[in-house]
Amino acid sequence: MSLERLLEALLVRSGPHALEHLRLVSLALGCALAIAFPLGVLFTRERFRSLGLKAMALLNTGQAIPPLAVIAIFLPFWGLGFRPAVTALVLYSLLPIARNTMAGLGGVPSEVKEAARGMGLNGWDVFWQVELPLSVPVIMSGVKTSAVLTVGTATLAALVGGGGMGRVIFAGIDMFWPEFIIAGTMVIGVIAIVFDRLLSLLEIFLVPSHLR
């Protein structure tokens, strides 16, 4: 172990890769949210509820596949690089968001929805004024879970040429330099914490004051 090498890893090597890592995670998370949230909403609508149960079973099974395998699956089709890495991460981060969106919306007390409809709110208003505000806490916790999970999983992106902090860690493994592994892990940890904190800030704005 040398302090010099640790500092080199942290200060010189990590910088650009940390930015790559952030890009990977933000993009993947953004896409996952854009896909999983509407799906979660759709699957809690009366008409698609039975479909939702099946979709959930599929997603649950998907989560059981190791991330490495998910990343590898795209290799033959998409080759190496940033795009397949992001695609794999999106797939991997869908589930917590979809599941929590469904759980959150499903957990809105039916009597509140019934009263809202009975008062003369239309379907759109019931969703925006009642269902969404009441389920935001649960949905946001899903987003946070997904973010932290993705920050960790994104390490593997380096294996398919997607870049990110995985580069530093795998370099350390290849060279037998534990300093690089430690430095990479530390930076990933910091990124995970930063994501969690930022999302918590967002939550404060989104969750109705009384439900916090």
């Binding site: 007390p109 009597e111 509140v112 929805k113 019934e114 009263a115 809202a116 409809r117 009975g118 008062m119 003369g120 709110l121 239309n122 208003d125 004024q129 009642v130 505000p133 009441l134 109705p208 009384h210 439900l211």
Partner: protein
């Protein structure tokens, strides 16, 4: 006026219709109580009136207008809706909860503020105290009151109430019922009220509709139904003490013999001087009660004091006499089909 015409509802895959060929009319300003065992279809009838459930067959007319041709969302804004589980929005303050429908109807902010103040006073809550509270910070009775206030917010001519006082304890329930009847005396809303509690039905209803297995089995004024249940089922619902319930509905003034028509013999128990002197002298030697009290209260006094008649007072004067015989003959007369 609300008119239900051969209304039926068959849910998919149900064994029998939830509601079958139900027809009745509710007059303007009346409380019509649907009562029956659970699963008898009473809530389904209620929800068909604000189109939360669409009937399979039949028509509903409100003020001569067939509601099948109206926009359900707009229809519901003109009908107050109160349910047992209340369903207040937990993320909104009391003010915002009550302001819901007025806001949907684009009332001005000032008009809404004033209306909420009026309603909170009407239901006996201090606006200063509850205005910015959230439902979770209120007691069950307070929430139930807010639920009623929310339904009344836009002053709808019709109210649908599905076991509105079912979730609170008996003491609070009694209180809320009394309070609501007091409010209704001024409001004169047309109300459809659903309950499984026959006592509540008798107390609240101008009319009672008794349902069983989706069918309307008897419809009429509480006193008529209590005196003459049309079937064994109705008699069972009314309970063993239906005559006692009847005695609660009738005020002593309706049966008393006014003082000027009393014969010497009838008023024998009361000396003339004492009768004229009013309540205080009566209090000293005889039993009395006020004109507004139910017959049941008169019976209570007779039994406790071993009397066969009591004096009836209005303010401080004795105005009549009510005897045990008056009550028993009234009941047997009613049961034979006569009217008062």
């Amino acid at each position: 006026m609300i008119k239900l015409e051969r209304l039926s509802k068959i849910f998919p895959e149900a064994e029998r219709p939830a509601v079958e060929e139900l027809s009745l009319e509710v007059d303007q300003g009346d409380i019509c109580v649907f009562v029956g065992p659970s699963g008898c279809g009473k809530t389904t009838v209620l929800k068909m009136i604000n189109r939360l459930i669409e009937p399979t067959a039949g028509n509903i007319f409100i003020e001569e207008e067939n509601i099948a041709g109206t926009d359900p969302v707009l229809l519901r804004r003109k009908i107050g809706y109160v349910i047992q589980q209340i369903g207040l929005f937990p993320h909104r303050t009391v003010f915002e909860n009550i302001a819901l429908v007025p806001r949907l109807l684009h009332w001005s902010h000032q008009a809404i503020e004033e209306r909420v103040q009026v309603l909170l006073n009407l239901i006996g809550l201090d606006p200063q105290e509850v205005y910015y509270k959230y439902p979770g910070q209120l007691s069950g009775g307070e929430m139930q009151r807010i639920g009623v206030a929310r339904a009344l917010a836009a002053d709808p001519p019709i109210m649908l109430m599905d076991e509105p006082f079912g979730a609170v304890d008996p003491i609070i329930r009694h209180h809320l019922q009394e309070e609501f009847l007091r409010i209704q005396q001024e409001m004169k809303k047309t109300i459809i009220f659903v309950t499984h509690d026959i006592n509540e039905a008798v107390k609240m209803g101008d009319r009672i509709a008794i349902m069983n297995q989706g069918r309307l089995v008897q419809y009429g004024e509480p006193a008529d139904i209590l005196a003459r249940p049309g079937s064994r089922f109705v008699a069972e619902i009314l309970g063993d003490d239906r005559t006692m319930k009847l005695l609660e509905l009738v005020r002593v003034e309706t049966l008393m013999t006014p003082l000027d028509k009393c014969s010497e013999k009838q008023s024998g128990g009361f000396q003339d001087a004492e009768l004229q002197a009013g309540r205080e002298s009566v209090q000293n030697g005889y039993s009395w009660l006020e004109t507004q009290k139910p017959l049941k209260a008169a019976l209570e006094i007779m039994m406790r004091n071993n009397l066969d008649q009591v004096a009836v007072c209005r303010e401080d004067n004795v105005v009549g006499i009510l005897g045990w015989k008056d009550i028993t003959s009234y009941i047997s007369n009613l049961e034979r089909g006569g009217r008062l």
